[in-house]
Structure formats: C-alpha cells, structure tokens
Amino acid sequence: MSMRLFELMLWAAGKTVLLSAVSIMIGLAIGLMICAAKLSPNKLLSIPATLYVSLFRGVPLLVQLLLIYNLLPVLGIMVPSVVAAVAGLSLCTAAYQAENLRGGFQSVPRGLLEAADMVGMSPWKQLTRIRAPIAFRLTLPALVNEAILILKASSLVSVVGVIELTRMAQNLSASSFRPLLFYSVAGAMYLVICWVVAGGGSLAERMLKTGSRA
C-alpha cells in the first residue's frame, strides 16, 4: 500500500474517531436529560423518557440511520449527510447512556446522601457535590463500553453516504482489487482506537477510584 493510500485510511480513521466522539458527547448530554426525566416523579416527564429509551433501544441502528436520513428532507431540513449520521448515532447512544446513568444514580448509597443531609447540604448541593460525582464514577466503565460500541457501530453511517474508515476501505478495495489488504488495515485501525479508548478508560477509573492516586 502506498503512503498516499495509507494517509487516506488514516484520514478516514480520524473521521471515525471524530464522528464517534461527537456522538458520544451529544449522547451523554441527551442521556443525562433523559435519565433525569426518567427518575422524575412527574409522569409527564418519566413516561416519554421511558418511551424514548425503549424506542431507540428496540430499533436497529441501521434502520434508525436510514429513517433519519430520509426523514430530514421530508421535514424540509437540508443538512449534510454527516449531520444526519451524528444525529442518528447520538440519539441511539443517548438511550443506552440514559440507562447507564440511571443505574449509576440509583446505586449511590442512600447513607451518603443522608450524611450530606445531616450537614445541611441543600438538595441541589447534594446532587452536584455528592450524587452526580459518585454516579459518574459508577457509570464510567459502562460509558467506556458504550464508547467502544459506538466506535464500531459508526461503520454503519456509510449507508447514508458518509465516508469514514469502513467506507474508505470499501472504496479503496473496489478500486485496487485488494480487499483483504484494506479491510485488514481498517480492522487493525479499529482495534488500535478501541485499545486506546479502553486504556484511557481504565486509567481514568484508577485515578478516580481514590481521587488522584493510582
């Protein structure tokens, strides 16, 4: 493989990372809101949140992507396909992240909040200083897991015409008649990216376990 082709693959890998990272971040923000809605005693919030989660977890991501891609123009929204791709990935991962976060929030031991209550912390302070930081630590392994899943699932966005790592390997295979080479390189690149994410995750976990000490 020439340097030029390798550079193309690297560029595509970068795009995969970017697509996934943006989607994970947006998904985390939406997931937090859905989690809050789901934990709310207000049924007007919790029922739609539950519906959202079951909908986006129940429909294959590929179908979701195709639906969003075809729905946007019908609604008169003209956006580049990459935006449709990020929207699809974000909305889907948000459902899973909402569930992870809910698990984290519900696993914060009640005694820790009672201790906060006893020193006079307001409900808001209890949330921001105690509940959320502990829930986030409890959720971190699941978040890393989800990031890896989304990294790999991002290969699906090639169906809406976004050129990322998988699509690039496909294109180059077709033009060079060397599919084994390009798919192996793509596979290796996915593997390395996932290793980095997993490694970063366990490093963060270790650092957060006792604060700064590893």
Partner: protein, 263 residues
C-alpha cells in the same frame, strides 16, 4: 431547671401499617450522654433518625433546646409542619454519626470534614481547611487528612466521620451503633474519642450494644423494647440487680454473643 437539649413527647412512628415507635417520651439534659439499648428491631435507629429528622414522626413533638423540630404543637392537640428554613435552622444544631460511616468516597478525609464548611457555611477554603485540620487532630488523625476513605481503616473512617460532624459545631451528637461495623480491635479508638467528647460536655445520644461504654460513660440509660421505653434512668439504677427481666434477657443474649467471639 434549664431546658433539655432534646425533648421527645409522645412520639409515634409507623412504616405503613406497622407501628415501630409506640409513644416515646424522653428528655436528654444538655451536656449529658444518653445510651439507648434494646434488642434488634426495637426501634432504636428509628428513634434516633426521628430526632435527626431523617424520618418524620407520625405524631408527637420533638424539641431541640425548646425549639420544635419539623412539627410544632398547635395547642389543640394537633400539630403543624414547619417551613423548611425553620427545619434546617434547628437541624443545624444536630450532628450524626452512622454505623456505616457514610464518608463520601470521592473526597479525602479533609475534604469530607470541610465540605459543608465550604458549600453550606460558605467559608473560604483556607479557613475551612484550618478548622478541618484541627478537627482531624482532635480525633487523632492529623496525618491522615489527604487519605481517601478507601485508604483508611474502619476505625479511622469512623473518626473522620466524627470530625466531619464536629466541624459544624453541633450542640448534640447522635451515634447509631458507631462501632458495630468495626473489627473488635478497632472499637476502642472510636469509643475513646466518644468518651473524650462526653467528658468535654457534648450532648450525646448513643445507640450501641457496648454495654461497658454505656455503663461507664452514660449519664442515662434508656432501654427500648418493641417500640416502647421500658426503662429510663442512671446506669447505677438500670444495671443494678435484680434487673428488669427483659433487660436481663437482652444482656444475656449480648454477653453470649460476646463470649461466642472469644471462642
């Protein structure tokens, strides 16, 4: 006669249909130590949690230095819920130490002790740290401020929890089985801190199975049985033989358990 630090008047507490506290009356004089004994399930924790307002009583009145906590007497036999600002003010005089320590795992010992000074009392970080370090020194942990709870022994964690409560200068400290989740060799260090606090004039209510501590430090022993205060008096009276049969039975169970760990 000065007003008691804590007054409990005809307090009932039910969880659903089960009545756990069946009319408790109790006065805790300022500066004294009251030890609550009683078999498992008799309602000791529930009573303490009601005094901390972690549970709301079903009926009855609790007063802290004469000020009603949570609910005030309307004078015609009923009671009315007080505004939350009022509740917070009265509650600020009470500190609580839990059986499971309940330290916040993501903060250091010093962080745990200073958290409320900064976020609730709005102190500057530097001033809060000064107080925090002094309180940690008071429980013998001046060299452990920067350790996280997971890096401390159970006895050290419980002492940090005591320092956390002390930092807010409460008038009254509540302890719910503070040594029950500790290995036997670690209970001493916690009991010693509590003994010193009692000697220093802190008002304390202690739920504990440490009968030795209760007998030597308690100014008053209260024996709770099936949601009722069966006995209430100084240790010399309560522990004098012949004992109330329920207390005798309780102590035998306790001593059996103690003996069993020796084998």
């Amino acid at each position: 006669m000065t007003r008691p630090a804590v007054t409990v008047r005809d307090v009932h507490k039910s969880f659903g249909k089960t009545e756990v506290l069946k009319g408790i009356d109790l006065a805790v004089p300022s500066g004294s130590t009251t030890c609550i004994l009683g078999p498992s399930g008799s309602g000791k924790s529930t009573l303490l949690r009601c005094i901390a307002f972690l549970e709301e009583t079903t009926s009855g009145i609790i007063e802290i230095h004469g000020e009603p906590l949570g609910f005030a007497d309307t004078g015609d036999g009923g009671r009315t819920r007080l505004p939350s600002s009022e509740i917070r003010k009265v509650r600020a005089r009470i500190g609580m130490v839990f059986q499971q320590f309940n330290l916040w795992p993501h903060m250091t010992a010093l962080g745990n002790v200073t958290e409320a000074l900064v976020t609730v009392r709005k102190m500057k970080r530097k001033d809060a740290n000064e107080i925090g370090e002094a309180q940690l020194a008071r429980v013998g942990l001046s060299d452990r401020g920067h350790h996280y709870p997971a890096e401390l022994s159970g006895g050290q964690q419980q002492r940090v929890a005591i320092a956390r409560a002390l930092a807010l200068e409460p008038d009254i400290l509540l302890f719910d089985e503070p040594t029950s989740s500790l290995d036997p060799e670690l209970t001493g260090e916690v009991l010693n801190v509590m003994r010193e606090l009692a000697g220093g004039g802190m008002t304390m209510i202690v739920v504990s199975h440490e009968i030795g501590f209760a007998a030597s430090v308690g100014d008053k022993i209260v024996f709770l049985d099936e949601g009722k205060l069966l006995l209430d008096g100084p240790p010399s009276e309560i522990f004098a033989t012949p004992r109330h049969p329920r207390l005798q039975q309780f102590m035998e169970t306790y001593l059996d358990r103690g003996a069993a760990t020796l084998l």
